[in-house]
Amino acid sequence: MSAVYDKVAELLSDKFGVPSEEISPEATFEDLDLDSLDLVEFALAAEEEMGVRISDEEAEQLKTLQDTVTLLESKGAKVGGS
C-alpha cells in the first residue's frame, strides 16, 4: 500500500486506539466504531500530519479507508520528510 495509507493506518492506531488487525483498505469508519465526531478529529489530524484539508462535506462522503486514501492523495497529501 501507499505511504498515505500507512500514515492513515498509523493515525487510526496511535490517536484513535483502533487495533491494527482491524485496519484494512476495505474497512469502513463504521466497522472501526468511529463516528462523525471521530471523523472531524481524523480530518484535523490528517491536516496536521499531511498538510491537506478535508472539508466537512468531503468527510461525510468517506466510507472506507481506501476512499480516504484516494481523497488525500488527490489533494496532494505529503507524508514524511516534510
Binding site: K15, F16, G17, V18, D33, L37, V40, E41, L44
Partner: protein
C-alpha cells in the same frame, strides 16, 4: 402546612472507590486505616506555587477501559466508570440482565473536564479555533459523567449531576436517596468524581489561599484539626455507591453494607469561600439530616468530618460538632490521607463512613500530631479506634456555603 415525613432508610449494597489511597475499596480502606498521607510532589503542576497534590496512584485508563474508550473520556469520567464497575460487582448486580429503565444515576462533580478544557484552550491559542477538538464539549461538560455511566451500564432511569462544589458527592447521594424514596427508580448508582488537578485550577486555589504551602514536605501537608495546618491538599478521586430500598435489596438476597438513614442540606447565605464562623449553615444541615433520620443529636457517636485542614473550616466545624452533638461523638477526617477531592469528597467519605460503621473501626486522622487547642472534640489520631457505632454522620461543606450531611447507620 404540615409535612408528613418519611424516615425510611435506604440500603447501601455496593461500594466502588478510586482514590489517592488506592484503586478499589480494599486498597483505599487499607491506606485510610494506616493513616499514611497520599500527598506528593506533582510533576504536572511544575511552576505553580503549590506543586503538590493527591493523585490516584497508577491509574492507567488505557489498561482499565481500553484505548478506544479511554481517549474519548476526560479523566473525571474515567475514574467514575472504574469506581462504578466495582460498586456494581460489589452489589452482585449484572447490568446485562437488569431492567435498566428502573436504574437511576446521580453523580456529584464540581468542575467537569478541567484538563480537556485547558488542553483545548491551549490548542486554540496556539493553532486557531479550527484546530479545536470536536470532542471538547462532550468531554468537558460535568453532566457527561452521568450520561456516560448510563451508556456504560444501560441505566435508563433519572440521570443527573449535582454541583455543590466540595459537597457535590454528598448532595448527589442525598438526591439519589430521594429518588428511591419517591419511587422514581429501584436502583441508583450515586457518588461523586473529580479530576481537576490542572495547573490553572490549582493556581486558582493557591491564589485564594486555600492550599497548604508545605510543598517541601508533602506527606505532612494535609493535617486536619492539627495546630500546624495551613490549607488543604487538592486531590482527585471517584466514589460510587449502589443504593436500593431495603425491601428490594432483601428480596434479591443482596448483602446490605449499611443504611443511608438521613440527608440534610442547607445554605450559609454568607460568603463565596469562607464558612459562616458561627457554623449556622452547617448546624442547620446536621439538624436537618438527623431529623430526616429521626435520631437525636446525642445518639450520634461518629463524625466523618469535612475536616479540610484549612484553618477556618476545621475550627468552625469542630465548634459546630461540639455545640450540636455534644462530647460523645468520635471524629475523624479521612482527608489527612486522601487530601481534598472536591466534588468527589462527599462520596468517598460516605463510603468510608459505611465501612467504619460496618467494621466498627474508626480510621485515624493523618498527621494529627498536636491538636489545635481551639478544637475541643475527640479526634482519632495515630491508629484506628474500635467502636460500635449506631449512628454516624458524614459532613460536607462546599464553597458557596452549600452544605450536605448524610446519616449512616448499621444494616
Amino acid at each position: 402546612m404540615t409535612v408528613t415525613r418519611n424516615h425510611d432508610p435506604v440500603a447501601v449494597t455496593g461500594l466502588g472507590l478510586v482514590t489517592p489511597a488506592g484503586i478499589g475499596v480494599d486498597a483505599s480502606w487499607a491506606q485510610i486505616l494506616s493513616g499514611e498521607s497520599a500527598a506528593a510532589k506533582d510533576p504536572n503542576l511544575e511552576g505553580v506555587s503549590v506543586d503538590i497534590s493527591c493523585r490516584v496512584p497508577g491509574f492507567d485508563a488505557t489498561e482499565l477501559l481500553g484505548r478506544k474508550h479511554a481517549r474519548r473520556l476526560d479523566r473525571f469520567v474515567q475514574l467514575a466508570i472504574v469506581a462504578a464497575r466495582e460498586a456494581l460487582a460489589d452489589a452482585s448486580l449484572d447490568s446485562q440482565t437488569w431492567d435498566g429503565t428502573r436504574v437511576g444515576v446521580v453523580i456529584g462533580c464540581g468542575m467537569g473536564g478541567a484538563a480537556t478544557w485547558e488542553e483545548q484552550h491551549r490548542r486554540m491559542l496556539e493553532h486557531g479555533p479550527d484546530r479545536v477538538s470536536a470532542m471538547l464539549i462532550p468531554m468537558l461538560v460535568p453532566n457527561m459523567v452521568a450520561g456516560q455511566l448510563a451508556m456504560e451500564f444501560g441505566a435508563k432511569g433519572p440521570n443527573l449531576v449535582t454541583a455543590t462544589a466540595c459537597a457535590s458527592g454528598a448532595t448527589a447521594i442525598g438526591v439519589a436517596r430521594d429518588l428511591l424514596r419517591g419511587g422514581a427508580c429501584d436502583i441508583v448508582l450515586t457518588g461523586g468524581t473529580e479530576a481537576g488537578l490542572t495547573p490553572l485550577s490549582i493556581a486558582g486555589f493557591a491564589q485564594m489561599g486555600a492550599l497548604s504551602h508545605r510543598v517541601d514536605d508533602p506527606a505532612s501537608a494535609s493535617r486536619p484539626f492539627d495546630s500546624g495546618r495551613d490549607g488543604f491538599v487538592a486531590a482527585e478521586a471517584a466514589g460510587v455507591l449502589v443504593m436500593e430500598r431495603p425491601e428490594d435489596a432483601a428480596a434479591r438476597g443482596a448483602r446490605t453494607r449499611a443504611h443511608l438513614a438521613g440527608y440534610g442540606a442547607s445554605a450559609d447565605a454568607f460568603h463565596a469561600t469562607a464558612p459562616d464562623p458561627e457554623g449556622a449553615g452547617a448546624e442547620a444541615a446536621i439538624r436537618a439530616a438527623l431529623a430526616d433520620a429521626d435520631v437525636a443529636p446525642s445518639e450520634v457517636t461518629h463524625v466523618n468530618a469535612h475536616g479540610t485542614s484549612t484553618p477556618l473550616n476545621d475550627v468552625s466545624e469542630a465548634r459546630t460538632i461540639k455545640r450540636v452533638l455534644g462530647d460523645q461523638a468520635v471524629v475523624t477526617s479521612t482527608k489527612g490521607v486522601t487530601g481534598h477531592s472536591l466534588g468527589a469528597a462527599g462520596a468517598i467519605e460516605a463510603a468510608f463512613s459505611v465501612l467504619t460503621v460496618e467494621q466498627g473501626l474508626i480510621p485515624p486522622t493523618a498527621n494529627l500530631e498536636s491538636q489545635d487547642p481551639e478544637i475541643e472534640i475527640d479526634v482519632v489520631a495515630k491508629a484506628p479506634r474500635e467502636a460500635k457505632i449506631e449512628v454516624a454522620i458524614s459532613n460536607s461543606f462546599g464553597f458557596g456555603g452549600q452544605n450536605a450531611v448524610l446519616v449512616v447507620t448499621p444494616a
